[in-house]
Point group: C2
Chain length 364, copies 2
Amino acid sequence: MTDDVVPSLDGFTRRDWQSEETNGTVRFAMVGMGWWTREQAIPAVEASDFCETTTVVSGSAQKVAAATDLADSIEHGITYEEFHDGVAEDAYDAVYVVTPNGAHLPYVETAADLGKAVLCEKPLEASVERAERLVAACDDVAVPLMVAYRMQTEPAVRRARELVDAGAIGDPVLVHGHMSQRLLDEVVPDPNQWRLDPELSGGATVMDIGLYPLNTARFVLDADPVQVRARATVESEPFDAVGDEHVSFGVDFDDGTLAACTASQSAAQSSFLRVTGTEGEVALDPAFYNRQERRFRLSIGSQSVDYDFDRVNQMTEEFDYFAYCLLTGTDPYPDGDHALVDMRTMKAIYAAAERGGDVAVEAV
Amino acid sequence: MTDDVVPSLDGFTRRDWQSEETNGTVRFAMVGMGWWTREQAIPAVEASDFCETTTVVSGSAQKVAAATDLADSIEHGITYEEFHDGVAEDAYDAVYVVTPNGAHLPYVETAADLGKAVLCEKPLEASVERAERLVAACDDVAVPLMVAYRMQTEPAVRRARELVDAGAIGDPVLVHGHMSQRLLDEVVPDPNQWRLDPELSGGATVMDIGLYPLNTARFVLDADPVQVRARATVESEPFDAVGDEHVSFGVDFDDGTLAACTASQSAAQSSFLRVTGTEGEVALDPAFYNRQERRFRLSIGSQSVDYDFDRVNQMTEEFDYFAYCLLTGTDPYPDGDHALVDMRTMKAIYAAAERGGDVAVEAV
């Protein structure tokens, strides 16, 4: 490591977004009690500085009862119907929506009606049209909407963005991004799960994990997609209805950078993002799994440095950042308009795969 | 490292292709005296077991005179005209053709007429049609033709191929490959060089370096491309005529594997190849530069091993392998038909970039 050429990145995991003192706590209603909420979100909130879970919302009284013990702070367990009726609305300030993609809209609409801030899981919805209605529902009553791109509060990703912005690798030229997992063998071993139902998911692989290299590339480059090309294939029967088990897609960004991305729901768990510039390269490898190590390499000319840093809980960072924005009256980011660009890009990716040709991303 | 799961790969740099005793030495005429021949090929042959350079061939008496001192074994320095006239033909057994792409054909034709074995640099020629004539010229008189894909005799690549073939990563699913360098700033600082002349090169970036991820993926997967999609862009004026400075291309292989590849002649030097399978992953990173370190990582499930191995000179391996084949009467590989598949694939990549749509690779 030569400090002359490669910067030392002091305070790698610092919260660059946190500058003011805050008072109080943001109380959350968790809407949707799948494994992600139970095993990732609720523990992350317990470990947070500015958040607590007071309310859990699920489909049946039985599921609700099973979820109320997940944290001491949980005061209310209510059904989806009760949520829509405003039951226990005084017990929470914000709503985390983590239902199947195609069911985000009604819960966000109710949260907006109740005047609650919204943290909505990505992708925003199962179609561009429903995602637009979701964003409008929040805009119409001016409730804050943040989309839960946890990579955007991951320190390794924020440091990569800062380095690219500062010109550390020159001008970005090419990006590679990848994410894969064994969905049915290791993550959610249920062939009838909602991710494999096109009405509920909008697509299995691009929508669920292809979104990670796509959105993280956007964030690190600070650029937006203008055109895509793609190929999607299916090898296993449970993916027949959605049509995308393995995907490869190219993305042309408005700054001229070309990205080559892949994703698979039926390959060994792996993830990386690599940005090659005119003068150097920054690589996160592994990159995208909260439950896996992250590694960060910066190369400039012939010198290369692997940074050691403490892994943080991406979900705790995300919840604390969102709560900090609410407590300080700051607009949270990524917002609905940012997430709509991904929705339009993924629509273009599916269209390109279907058509076998380049497709322009619809402008807003 | 757990030997139970991840194999130990004894003898990483072993020459798996070498099994018999041999007698004698293959004497080479080097045709084309650019920096690659002077700085890479002639020293590599000096370090070899089975080869020597006896003859150098270049465009002018002056260039020839400057090259005859490059090795003690060099007995003859002749011009291209003298080569075509058969001057000093008794002094060499084989010809290494390393002229600009679009000038390979006449030297290979002469070598074939003279009954000399041919090691021809990749890509075979500047167009599919000329490459087909080149292969036919050797086939017609049955002289051995090998194409100089030095990655195919690189031990790290051969070990990767063996592991994939043995099922170590399950079934291959996705491949990422990349190669970039700063051609004009660091490699050949001449805006009038032949690589930037479409007649002589056939293309600057896909043909010169995009070929590395393409061909190495083919070799590691033991599969051939059937369809491609691509985008090529130009930012700097010297690349206007060729039309490809930065490229991103997707390749669909006949075994179902999808590859996402990029290359640039105007980005920081970098190269990697990564094959993700259903059970694991194998990665070469860096991968493709003879003058740069190679690293090899194998991941199976959650275990990952970086193999330490001594870097070999890829060019020495390549020359010794070719000479070993000649001395033992074995057909060398990769042959002309193998290289023609790359020529047809690159033609399809340029067509896809031009058309903005998927293009099928022409069958043989």
